[in-house]
Subunit: 209 residues, 2 copies
DNA sequence: TCAGCTGTGTATCTTTTGATACCGTGTGGA
DNA sequence: TCCACACGGTATCAAAAGATACACAGCTGA
């Protein structure tokens, strides 16, 4: 079992000794459980998180639907929070923990100094921005070009790989939210997949064949 | 009539004298005409552009359709180029000039130094990333939630505002590309708008009422 | 144990969008 | 002048996705 300190040590992409000292000095390790809300739309971002373990689901809410932006996973940070913190803006997104999660959090006020002082941080930030942008383009592409059945299958496969399992635990309702569709449509598609022997359906779970 | 030097002077958001000197020393002003290709998918990005006047349309191409990412307008830079240059990656997008355009271009190799040396550049980069990301989210939202007619109207209104005119010069075909749809669909929708007295159609142009 | 909630299956209907095809009508250049 | 080509109108057909409604099963807490 890793301690928070072990996890911290894994952040090897910040090599500058001086920086690592600062990270330790100002950083604070905090734990969250599934469902905990990290940030809400409209709040100022006082702390910037780096995920040590677990995942944060970041999304925007419009009327009754939501737009999934990305998941912040181990070693990553939340670019929406980063930008909001950097510019002292309110958050425009929600961040919710989806599994037991440990975060390393820093006062937002440090960010702009780090940007100038530590090349590795600078690179890290650029990398995260680039990555999030590419992810969003990908989703975008998916919506524009691919039909929902295709996207459903993609989602399930990726989730299966990520969690290294053949059984994905998710409700049709939730799956619909992830893909920006509605429950009935997803149920219909999944049932067809089951008839095609591509998956097997259970209450709250889907087995990949 | 502004000279390129006048235009350069407008970049007041880079106040550091030392930085301005460097900008002048390494920067080069180049002109392009409508249709000129600035970057292509697969090319290395050797120069980073800041638009002084005009606009660059940045998009990705997949099979026969394209995804519009953004327009780089005056005082802006192209984040895709920036990221590609920073990481020495090949470009994954195309950039094409859509009107007579003047660019200030810099050798890509300078970017990471600037990031650390000049706070104003750092802020500028963060700002651009933030902005592009928000733009993409907006398009995303549009596609997920809004029907095409709504998006067509939005597009026309915004374009009308941008160019301070009631008559937008664009073909149905081109409009379809901008919105990721097809010509027939757009023609159908526009015709309906005309019947509803929302617009008036001309060959190659649309008047807003 | 029973009420109520969540999760799922399914039918019906409508709307939206896309695909294809065909036909005009300007327009600019040979 | 005439032809090729870009532009635009429209009809027809099909597919995709959403909305709504209803039924029923499993689970959970009072």
């Amino acid at each position: 079992m890793d301690t928070a300190n072990d996890l911290f040590k894994k952040l090897t992409f910040f090599p500058e000794p001086e920086f690592r000292e600062e990270l330790l000095k100002h950083g604070q390790v905090v734990s969250f459980n599934k469902g905990d809300v990290i940030v809400k739309d409209g709040q100022y971002v006082k702390f910037l998180p780096i995920v040590l373990k677990g995942a944060i689901r970041v999304f925007q809410q419009k009327e009754d639907r939501e737009i999934l932006l990305y998941y912040v996973k181990a070693e990553e940070t939340c670019t929406m929070s980063l930008a909001a913190a950097y510019f002292n803006n309110k958050s425009t997104s929600h961040g919710v923990v989806t599994e037991p999660t440990e975060l390393l959090i820093f006062p937002s006020s440090l960010i702009d100094q780090w940007q100038l002082k530590y090349p590795s941080w600078n690179k890290y930030v650029m990398h995260m921005f680039r990555r999030r942008y590419d992810e969003l383009i990908n989703s975008f592409e998916g919506i524009v070009f691919d039909h929902i059945p295709h996207r459903v299958l993609e989602y399930l496969k990726r989730k299966g790989l990520d969690e290294n399992t053949k059984t994905v635990h998710i409700s049709h309702e939730h799956l619909a939210r992830e893909l920006g569709s509605t429950r009935v449509v997803i149920s219909r598609i999944l049932k067809q997949f089951e008839r095609d022997k591509k998956i097997k359906l259970f209450r709250g779970a889907i087995e990949l064949l």
